[in-house]
């Protein structure tokens, strides 16, 4: 793990893998909860965790080198089930890339347990990992100008659900009626880093 300084009050902690970053994130949350770490933002991402709003980043950079970071225990976090209709316009293309029939895409996707690696792009948008490498697909070469809210999509190693209508370049394989983001709700985000997710197929109505 390396600690890269980011301006005057932040550190970017870089792990060698997404798994290491995930474990570090869990440990940082634990230390903040117990009061031994004071920081404004803890922002996990693909292979890094950003600490923003630190009084003394240099001291923390030194201290972090001696952190004992236990691996994240499986099943430590809550499981969210998202009902999904596998009816996306890119289902055929994804099936072709996976070299399976279309209904097999649904079976594989719904049979996978995902974890929210991190959030970004829009409030409530989670980057979900869990698909095996052979199921990773590239983004569309031309992004759509409007992807509907609730679209279940794939890009690279990630699955995501668009919380609201927005432009987007991911491959759309399905639709969910789950509300990913509602700022009047507590918590506003249905998914947060570390949440486990399963997609549960429902019949087309």
């Amino acid at each position: 793990m390396r600690a890269l300084p980011v301006g005057e009050h932040a550190l970017l902690l870089e792990g060698t893998s997404g798994e290491e970053a995930r474990a570090l994130h869990a440990e940082l949350l634990r230390r903040r909860a117990e009061g031994s770490l004071t920081v404004r933002e803890i922002v996990p991402a693909a292979r890094t965790v950003l600490l923003d709003g630190l009084d003394d980043p240099a001291r923390w950079a030194a201290e972090l080198a001696s952190f004992d970071v236990p691996p994240v225990p499986p099943c430590a976090r809550e499981l969210v089930e998202l009902p999904v209709r596998y009816d996306g316009p890119d289902l055929a293309e994804v099936a072709a890339r996976w070299q399976v029939p279309e209904d097999e895409v649904a079976r594989i996707h719904a049979g996978t347990e995902f974890t929210v690696a991190f959030c970004g792009f829009a409030p409530g948008f989670g980057y979900l990992t869990g698909l095996p490498a052979r199921c990773h697909v590239p983004r569309r070469s031309t992004p759509r100008t409007a992807v509907p809210a609730g679209a279940v999509a794939l890009a690279g190693p990630y699955t995501g659900v668009y919380p609201r209508s927005s432009p987007g370049g991911w491959q759309l394989i399905g639709t969910t009626d789950a509300v990913l983001w509602d700022h009047a709700r507590v918590p506003a985000a249905l998914l947060s880093p570390g949440t486990r997710v399963r997609f549960v197929p429902v019949e087309n109505s």
Partner: protein, 289 residues
């Protein structure tokens, strides 16, 4: 209906409600948002007797005009501009009483970009995640003002400041941004790192609340490939594929996949919010304290 309200008569190019924003939610993809020029907003709040985090209006280049339904104290600061009440000139950077029903005109900026209008009691739209700020990237908070928008106001909490005119820094003729290198300066050639501080850049007209875009020499990458998405901070100097540095401002995305060559000192960001397109930009590397 309460008469503590402002009616927007002329919304201007872009006028938004802003306060100190919503820090603490970046891990959910929620930008920090908030005023782009915090010292200017804090000053006008102080002039009308508000706490520093009260919500104000942030205008862009050509001001706005509002009509209060009840008599109230206001102050305009940030980018210098003519201010009139009922057509008569009044003070800029000073507390001013606007009688009920009179038109308060915040004119076009004569220098700088963003003027701030504080009203005693603050703008009292419903907060979202603890903030009334309009976030143009994610759409949280109130929509940008349109003609006819009615803004509720809070109750005044303190007396206006007893000053005639408060001094405020003028907008910069040259925007000097002190930067600390990294975290991804190793993604660029040593020449690019030198170019950032020695070649001239100018503020691009494509700048907005998300980022200050620049025009100038493209910075050359030392390595190709994609950087996995990572957390971003306000003031990050991100370099997209066209090589022209972008300085992240309040509504910046919380994660990004383009490398950050350096980070601007927080103290220099208010000036970045006031630099008009075409202003020369100089990035000055400084050592960490």
């Amino acid at each position: 209906m309460t008469d503590r309200a402002l009616v927007v008569v002329r919304c201007g190019a872009l006028t938004t409600v802003q306060d100190r924003g919503r820090p603490g939610y970046a891990h959910l993809g929620v930008p920090r948002s908030g005023v782009l020029d915090p010292p200017a907003a804090a000053l006008v709040n102080r002039l009308v007797g508000n706490p520093p985090d009260s919500a104000v209006l942030e205008t862009t280049l050509n001001g706005c005009a509002v009509r209060p339904r009840s008599t109230l104290t206001v102050a305009v600061g940030g980018a210098p501009c003519p201010v009139t009440v009922g057509g008569r000139p009044v003070g800029w950077g000073a507390p001013v009483v606007v009688p009920a029903g009179e038109l308060l005109e915040v004119g076009a900026a004569v220098a700088g970009v963003r003027s701030y209008l504080a009203v005693a009691g603050g703008i009292a739209v419903e907060p979202v995640l603890g903030s009334r700020a309009t976030d143009l990237l994610s759409g949280l908070g109130p929509a940008p003002l349109t003609d006819g928008t009615v803004l509720p106001l809070g109750a005044p909490s303190g007396p206006p400041a007893r000053v005639d005119v408060a001094p405020q820094p003028g907008p910069p003729a040259e925007l000097v941004l002190r930067v600390t290198p990294g975290p991804r300066d190793d993604w660029f050639t040593t020449r690019a790192v030198r170019d950032l501080s020695t070649r001239g850049y100018r503020v691009s007209s494509a700048s907005n609340r998300i980022g200050l875009r620049t025009e100038g020499p493209a910075l050359e990458r030392a390595r190709s490939g994609e950087l996995p998405s990572e957390g971003m901070v306000r003031g990050a100097v991100q370099v997209p594929p066209d090589g022209r540095p972008v300085v992240f401002l309040a509504d910046h995305p919380t994660t990004g996949g383009y490398p950050v060559i350096a980070v601007v000192r927080a103290a220099d960001l208010p000036a970045a919010a006031q630099a008009v397109p075409g202003t020369p930009v100089r990035f000055v590397p400084v050592h960490r304290r």
